[in-house]
Structures are given as structure tokens and as C-alpha cells.
């Protein structure tokens, strides 16, 4: 499939597609982070994670609308505000969902799968009723449009770089929170051994609620990033949940670095192959490779080695 291109063209194609994949990479990283945090903490697979992302996307859309009609002078600066609001909205909804629904099901992990799936259907219909079935697009501020031309043939989209910066900052923030803060120490203790964490004086229920809210809030940030690569509709989140599971499993659950490496590999492979093949064939090859690697390394790319 490379035969039709010259070497110089191929280099530019790989570079351009690589940079184009950065936005996808950002969305994957943020989604997988949230999902992995929640799964690692309480063994809940949040099927509604995509809908929490879409909530973030709708909040971003609402914020851009508000700024363009009420504060047009500040429109250039709306995006950081939107990210913050998206995080808060998704985190608040996440906290409420944990309190109303999830905490009653901790002893029945399979039921949480059903319950969160049901929640995702409810949320999709809620979005349809509130925002309408038509997809909405977010208008980006001028400074985020366009691209840097590195050479004649290679151009880098500015919004891709911006979004990637945000997701790496978020990942760094999560890392610091998990490994350098008192709260993170409690989370890791609960992840390792929940009954024992209670028996050293950690309020595990409180840790659960905050963790669930944080995971959903990060999905909200992913939603903000998502508005750069796709249009926001009630069911758009569903398309991303499977890929996100793939990223988490491939990276090795509970490994932050593994999640990032795996998101990078999968998004870049997909983005590069999509240029040469159709989108679905690109996905088939990505899946085949991931399945193959997981057969050899079931624990994922990165897993910590300790004596138990």
C-alpha cells in the first residue's frame, strides 16, 4: 500500500497523520484515565463513561454559545472556562450518581455493569430531550484554528497541540494527586485492600464518592477535547467507550504510564492507517494487534512487579 508514494511523501504523511492523531490521543488518554481510576478503585466498569464525556462536550458547546452572545469580547478565552465547567458538571453528576446508584451495588459488580448501561441510555435520552437529536458543533476561537506549517508538506493543527497539552497536564495532575497527596495514598490503600483500608482508619465510602466524581470529571474534560474532533450528539459517547476499554486493558489497568503509552499507540496506529485503508479496516488491524499482544502479555503493557 506504500508503493504509490515517494519516500518524502511517506514521511510527511506519517508526520501529518501522527499530529492529526494527537486530538484522538488526548480524548483516549482522558477517557481511559477516568475509566481506569473508577475501575481500579471500586471494580465498577462505568458503561456510562461516554455519556459523562458528552455532558462535558455539551457544556463546552453551551459555554461557547454564552460567550459569543453575551461576552463576545472574551470569546477568545472561553475554552479554559469551558474545560473547568465541563469538569465540574461531569464531576457533580458523577458524585450524585455514585450516591444514588453505585454505592448500593458495590457488592454486586455485575449489576453495576447493567446499572451504568441503563444510566447511559437514560442520559442519552435526556440529552436528546434537552439539546435535541441534531448534532451540534462548537465554534473554536480564531487562535485555535489553522495550523503551523513546519515544512512545505507537514502542517500541525494548533487545536490538536492545545488539547494534547491539556490532557498531559490533566494526566500530570492525576499523577501528583495519586502519588503525592494524602488523598491519593488513601485511594491506593483502598484499591489494594478495601477491608484493611477501613481497618487502618480510612473512610472508604467517602474515598469512593470522590474518586467516582473525579473519574467522571476527567471524562468531562475529555468531552471538551472531543468537541475539536467530532460533532456533539446524544449518542456520540457510545462510539468511544469500546476504544477506551481497549486502551485501559492494553495499557495494564492501574498503570498511569501504561494508559498513556497505550492510548498513544492505539490512536497513532489508527490515525496513520486510516490514511491508507478505510477506517474500519484500520480498526480491524489495530484490534488484531492488540489482541495478539494481550495473548502474550495478559497483564497489559505495563504492570508493576512485586512479591505478594
Amino acid at each position: 500500500m506504500f508503493a504509490d508514494y515517494s519516500a518524502a511523501e511517506l514521511t510527511s504523511i506519517f508526520a501529518m497523520q501522527g499530529f492529526a492523531g494527537l486530538s484522538l490521543f488526548s480524548v483516549f488518554v482522558l477517557m481511559a484515565l477516568g475509566l481506569a481510576i473508577i475501575f481500579g478503585q471500586m471494580g465498577v466498569i462505568n458503561m456510562a463513561h461516554g455519556e459523562f464525556m458528552i455532558l462535558g462536550a455539551y457544556v463546552t458547546w453551551l459555554t461557547s454559545g454564552f460567550f459569543s452572545s453575551h461576552l463576545p469580547g472574551l470569546f477568545a478565552a472561553y475554552f479554559p472556562v469551558a474545560i473547568l465547567l465541563a469538569f465540574l458538571a461531569s464531576a457533580l453528576l458523577g458524585g450524585a450518581v455514585e450516591w444514588l446508584l453505585i454505592r448500593h451495588l458495590y457488592k454486586r459488580p455485575l449489576d453495576t455493569l447493567l446499572a451504568t448501561w441503563g444510566l447511559s441510555l437514560i442520559l442519552q435520552q435526556a440529552y436528546r430531550s434537552i439539546f435535541g437529536a441534531r448534532e451540534v458543533g462548537v465554534r473554536m476561537p480564531d487562535w485555535m484554528m489553522g495550523s503551523y506549517a513546519i515544512t512545505d508538506m507537514i502542517e500541525v493543527p494548533i487545536n490538536g497541540l492545545f488539547v494534547m497539552g491539556i490532557s498531559l497536564l490533566t494526566a500530570l495532575g492525576v499523577y501528583l494527586l495519586m502519588y503525592r497527596s494524602t488523598w491519593g495514598r488513601k485511594v491506593r490503600a483502598v484499591v489494594q485492600n478495601r477491608p484493611m483500608a477501613g481497618a487502618v482508619g480510612i473512610n472508604t465510602q467517602q474515598v469512593d464518592r470522590v474518586t467516582f466524581a473525579l473519574g467522571c470529571g476527567i471524562a468531562g474534560i475529555a468531552g471538551s477535547a472531543f468537541t475539536m474532533i467530532g460533532s456533539t450528539g446524544p449518542t456520540a459517547g457510545q462510539l468511544y467507550i469500546v476504544d477506551t476499554f481497549l486502551v485501559v486493558v492494553f495499557g495494564g489497568a492501574q498503570s498511569l504510564l501504561g494508559t498513556i503509552a497505550s492510548a498513544f499507540t492505539i490512536s497513532q496506529a489508527q490515525s496513520t492507517m486510516e490514511f491508507f485503508l478505510s477506517g474500519s479496516m484500520a480498526k480491524v488491524y489495530t484490534l488484531l494487534v492488540v489482541v495478539g499482544i494481550l495473548m502474550v502479555r495478559p497483564q497489559g503493557l505495563f504492570a508493576s512487579r512485586i512479591r505478594h
Binding site: 494524602t182 495514598r185 488513601k186 491506593r188 490503600a189 489494594q192 485492600n193 477491608p195 484493611m196 483500608a197 477501613g198 481497618a199 487502618v200 482508619g201 480510612i202 473512610n203 472508604t204 508493576s304 512485586i306 512479591r307 505478594h308
Partner: protein, 229 residues
């Protein structure tokens, strides 16, 4: 100090502990001995709240702990060193001890814990899972002490530890009691350790306390008889 009355604990339909009454005084070390499956671990877990009790009260300084959750009991003054130690194996030694601070609300690890277990200071940046069994046992005790408990519970602390270290463990426990002024309940099967450490011995059989002896009046033969199969 700790006053347990009418305690009943069940797993489903089968009742493991039946109407248990016991009282532990200030600065007292009490050993509960008995063979496997007699309810020692169940008793320990129910005291710290890892397993619910179905009836009875557990009063610590007049406050009933029975309706409380684990973390509330620990904050009220219970420290727990479980069977098999259950340290957080992927976390460092220092982080393991720091988890215990959740109960006391302190920010820093008290220096006296490192004085008690110097090896933990040398290994504070290692992962807990990479420590030897004896070191893990010290870590589990340090973690429980970080919460400044009034009563320390230890469930079979000698399990999987070399005989030479068992003797030292007994000395350490007495030292902790003397320096911190707390009470200790230890469940055990190793008779020599029990004789080393305990002020009072209670024998448990099928969830009931069947024999009690003060230190001075301990008859080794009688207790060995209860422990033999």
C-alpha cells in the same frame, strides 16, 4: 477499658461466636488461644468491624463500638494487625505507615515508631511487598500504632515467622505496652509466645471462652491440652 458483652457473630446461618463476654483492663496483655477454626480470627474481625456482629456490645471507655464502621472504630481507639499482615504491598513502607495516620489525623510519622522498628526507617522507600515476613509484621504493627490506638489487636502475629524472631516480637509487644500505655489482645497458637507475652490467657473453643488463667496461675499442661488436636 474494653468491655465486650453478649457478643454473637455469625456467617450466614452458622453462629461462630456465641454470647461472648470479656473485659480487658488498662495496660493489660491478654492472649486468646485455641486451635484453628475455633473463632479467634472471627472475634478479631468482629472487634475491628471487618465482620459485623449480630448481637452484643463492644464498649471502649463506655462508648459502644458495635454499631460503628471499621474506620470509626479505628478512630475511636482500636488498632488492628490482621492475620497474614495484609500490608499494602505496592506502596512503600513509609506510605504504609502513613495510611495509619488517617485515624489520628497527624501529618507526620511519629519518630518513636522508627525507634521501635529501626529496620523500617532503613527501608522506608522500599515497597512493602518486597519486605521479609518478619519485616512485614513490624510494618503492620507500626501502621496500627500510627493511629494511636488504646487497644491493639493482633491476630496470630507469629504465623510464618522464625522462632528466634518470635521471642523478640514478644519483647517488642511488652515494650509497646509499657511505653504507650495501651492494652493488647493477641490471638495465638504458639504456647511459648503466649507464656512470654501474656498477663492473662483465655482459651477459646467453638466460639466460647472455656478457660481463663492469670499469668501467675497459668498451668502450661492444661493450656497445651486445649491446643493439642
Amino acid at each position: 477499658m474494653l468491655d465486650i458483652s453478649g457478643l454473637c457473630v455469625s456467617y450466614g446461618e452458622s453462629r461462630i461466636i456465641n454470647d461472648l463476654n470479656m473485659r480487658i483492663g488498662e495496660n493489660e496483655i491478654v492472649a486468646i488461644v485455641g486451635r484453628n477454626g475455633m473463632g479467634k480470627t472471627t472475634l478479631m474481625k468482629s472487634l475491628v468491624g471487618m465482620h459485623p456482629s449480630s448481637a452484643g456490645s463492644i464498649r471502649l471507655d463506655e462508648r459502644d463500638l458495635a454499631p460503628l464502621q471499621s474506620y470509626q472504630r479505628v478512630r475511636a481507639g482500636i488498632g488492628f494487625v490482621p492475620q497474614g499482615r495484609m500490608i499494602f504491598s505496592t506502596m512503600t513502607v513509609r506510605e504504609n505507615i502513613e495510611t495509619g495516620l488517617s485515624a489520628s489525623g497527624e501529618k507526620r510519622i511519629p519518630e518513636h515508631l522508627y525507634e521501635l522498628f529501626p529496620v523500617l526507617k532503613d527501608m522506608r522507600s522500599r515497597r512493602g511487598g518486597n519486605l521479609s515476613g518478619g519485616q512485614q509484621q513490624q510494618l503492620a504493627i507500626a501502621r496500627a500504632l500510627a493511629g494511636r490506638p488504646k487497644v491493639l489487636l493482633l491476630d496470630e502475629p507469629t504465623e510464618g515467622i522464625q522462632p528466634s524472631i518470635i521471642h523478640e516480637l514478644a519483647r517488642t509487644l511488652r515494650r509497646i505496652r509499657d511505653e504507650h500505655g495501651l492494652s493488647i489482645i493477641v490471638s495465638e497458637q504458639v504456647l511459648s509466645f503466649v507464656l512470654d507475652v501474656a498477663d492473662r490467657v483465655l482459651v477459646m473453643e467453638k466460639g466460647v471462652l472455656v478457660h481463663e488463667a492469670e499469668r501467675a496461675a497459668i498451668d502450661e499442661q492444661v493450656i497445651a491440652g486445649f491446643l493439642s488436636v
